[in-house]
Symmetry: C2
Subunit: 238 residues, 2 copies
């Protein structure tokens, strides 16, 4: 965030940096976050990370088996940073929503990571701890074991998928371009022939609202999910 974005001041050499700080997994992961945030998922590559560390790409492979492991390490660091409260049985639904929203926001800050996280079963130490504590909230809801097992799978998937989708926007266009694009999309949909697209025509007013908080859609979906999960309470004993 801070100094890594700036060009080197005159007189300082990249070499100096690399000699001061020796390479380490932690340093690599930390720098990788900076590079990912600056360049996005598509622009993120081993060469860029090495460059930001003042070394060559080959040097990274002494600490990390490859790009995939590096992304895994980043995901685990992100997962470990999610804070999960002590379960309060009276407020478990709110607590669950709060944690999933935090996950969503964390991935939204690093859109590329959401993409990398999709399709992975988390197994790093940081993620495991967070998962266990998150399960505590679900169990406070008196849900059957099987529902807990499903919910712990589905809820983070939803957060990840939504952050990824949302992140595509943020990555591709700035705020101004985005609203303009949404307005064009709105126009396009309104211009569709009503006879061939009667349903789009009927609800077109509700489809796009450029003023809308981007998180509102996410919150709505999350609410649907948690409502559906809570409805599973009771029917089966476990």
């Amino acid at each position: 965030m801070s100094s890594a974005e700036l060009p080197d001041p005159p007189g300082s050499k990249r070499r100096a940096k690399s000699q001061r700080k020796r390479l380490s997994r932690d340093a690599i992961v930390g720098t990788a976050f900076v590079v990912l945030d600056e360049r996005g998922y598509d622009g993120f590559n081993m060469r860029g990370v090495a460059d930001a560390l003042g070394t060559g790409p080959a040097s990274l492979y002494a600490h990390v088996t490859g790009k995939e492991e590096l992304l895994d390490l980043m995901i685990d660091r992100l997962a470990a940073a999610i804070e999960v409260p002590e379960p309060d049985p009276d407020r478990w639904q709110e607590q669950v929503k709060a944690v999933i929203t935090d996950i969503y926001r964390a991935f939204l800050e690093h859109p590329g990571l959401a993409r990398a996280n999709l399709g992975k079963i988390p197994s790093g130490p940081g993620a495991l701890h967070t998962i266990d504590r998150f399960m505590g909230l679900l169990r406070a809801g008196q849900l059957p074991k099987k529902v807990v097992a499903y919910a712990v799978d589905i809820l983070p998937l939803f957060a990840t998928a939504y952050a990824f989708e949302q992140g595509i926007f943020a990555e591709r266009m700035t705020g101004e371009d985005a609203t303009r694009y949404l307005e064009e999309l709105d126009e396009y949909w309104r211009a569709l022939p009503a006879d061939r697209f009667p349903n789009i025509h009927a609800v077109v007013d509700a489809l796009i609202d450029p003023e809308e908080d981007p998180e509102a859609r996410f919150a709505f979906g999350l609410d649907m999910l948690v409502t559906g999960i809570a409805a599973q309470r009771g029917p089966r004993r476990s």
Copy 2:
């Protein structure tokens, strides 16, 4: 599916094929499906498609602006093939689930496409038609406009994300490897210290069931979503 998977019979030359069939967008898209299914998302590239067509990669660019457009065309063809029934107000929830399940299965047949679809607002002609008809089902549920707008966004996202996640497995390991991997994962979780991971420990029996139909999890999540959506019925007029 049929002849494109077979090697060339002896005596036939690639050239013959390319001269018989001229290149076209449709031919390229069709061949792209074969290549994607054979090689997966990571192995899918323009060179491979060109090769399967008996030509060089540069030739594709006369018909398609690039890899991204080619993937968009594939997605649109897939979306157009989804059949949506006439709305039956008494069975709208079942109908919605059936369509979303079809989308899930379609993406599961071509796992790479799910990845490509994430983060895209569908705008091809085939997708638009399917979306409009799908909205018809939601409107039969008497849902407020805003809920229809959210649901039409969230439900396909869920199907896509889940198919993508599921597809990673299918792409990386065959049935035998998958069950073995799940068994190892089961063992690993059971071996976690109960004091540090009390909640995982408590529900570990329900977490992994190698016998379980992989679609059961998806169906469960979809059920939660639709239940949550249906609960939005009525409160607001629209």
